[in-house]
Structure formats: C-alpha cells, structure tokens
C-alpha cells in the first residue's frame, strides 16, 4: 500500500489529545522521539486580532528534555533548544505520529546518533549487529 503524503484532508485533530506525548515513527516504523510540545504560528499578544486573518497553523513538532522539562516544571525553553520536526513530514496521526522521512535526517535524533558514533561505536563489536 502506498503511504499517504499527509494526513487525511478535512480531518479534525485535537492537539493535546491526539498529538502531544505521542510516539513519532519514521518512514521505516522506527521510533524517533515523542512529541513534547507543538510549535504554532506566533499569535501577537496585547493587540486586537483580525477575525479575517488566517488562523495559526502547526509549524513543527518539538521534542527534547528542555521542552519537556519546562512543560512539566514551568518556564519557557529558549528557542535554540527546541528540537523541531517539520509538520510537513507528518503523514499520519494515529496511535503514533508517522513521518515521511528517516530518523537519520532529523535533528531531533542527534543525541542517539552521537551516542552511537562516539560511545557505542568505540566498543569492540559495537559497529555491527549481534551475530
């Protein structure tokens, strides 16, 4: 079956219920991260909003300890610490959020790649699958 290029048009999605804290899977079904927050278009504060203006959209899924930590304990993580996955990569929202790209191409999985290359890879036998 050919995967969808993006989620079904017209579908309604309640973001907290159906996106936050969901597992993110890459195009091969490999777990990447969980969704710790969602970045939406900036809404200006303290000004009258134009009812005819375009409504905000989801721009990125966010992950990482900085985002999760401030969500749990308060505060706001600096944007430089947001690990983003572009919404345009999302193909399906179900029990998991599915992407059209592979984990290796995402900034969000850099810690896993770093540990693989710098720690696990230096252990004898650490560069191949178990026999």
């Amino acid at each position: 079956m050919i995967p969808r290029p993006h989620p079904e048009p017209g579908r309604l999605v309640d973001a907290e219920f159906q996106v936050l804290d969901r597992q993110v899977l890459d195009r091969n079904g490999e777990p990447v991260v969980t969704v710790d927050d969602v970045e939406i278009t900036d809404i200006p504060r303290g000004v009258e909003l134009d009812p005819d203006a375009d409504a905000p959209v989801i721009e990125n899924l966010l992950s990482g300890s900085a985002v999760l930590g401030t969500r749990l304990f308060g505060g706001r993580p600096p944007e430089s610490r947001w690990q983003r996955i572009r919404w345009s990569h999302v193909t399906e929202i179900g029990t998991a959020v599915e992407l059209n790209t592979t984990a290796d191409r995402l900034d969000a999985s850099w810690t896993e790649r770093w540990v693989r290359n710098h720690l696990i890879g230096r252990i004898p036998g650490g560069r191949h699958a178990p026999d």
Partner: protein, 105 residues
Amino acid sequence: MLLTELLRMRVVEVDGTEVGRVVDARFRIDAQGGARLVGLIVSPHTRAPFLGYERAALDEPLVLDRFLRWLHRGSFLVDWPDVRRLDDDGLHLREGYERRPSTLP
C-alpha cells in the same frame, strides 16, 4: 509560539467574566496537509484534559465516561475568529461569540 502556552489559559468574556480554561486546541487538516487552528475547547470547571471522551462514540467504561462528562459539563468550542485578544492574563473573547459543541463529529 508553543501550543502549551495556550493550554490551561484563562478565557474571559468582554465584561471580564471568566468562562473557563483552554483544555485543547482543535485543528483541521487542509488539502496540502497543513493543520490550521479551528478553535479552542474551553472547560468551565477543570483544567484537566478530556482523555478522549470528547469523542462522542466513546462511552466506556461507563463510570469513567460519566465522571469525565460531569467534570467537563458546559465545555464548548470557541472558533478562533471569536478570539479578540491574547494577553498575559488570558484569552479575551469577542462580544456575541458562539459556544459550539466540543464533541468531535
């Protein structure tokens, strides 16, 4: 901005009456796959999420269903164009805003 900056935010009417807190944000997928904000779900009695009971078809286990529906009694969806201003003290609604059912179709 972060979605979680909107969640749990106070929602007030033009005269300053607090009508509840934002418990979720509803988006619609467009033809290109983008997710655009339709509106915010406001609950007058609790900040807790619905745990899926906003889906009309989900009603089991019965005790949990009744409890969550009681907890979220009076919840409604307010369309995004009915939001007049976002301030540090909360979301301000326009005069004559409409309270729409929060259940997912």
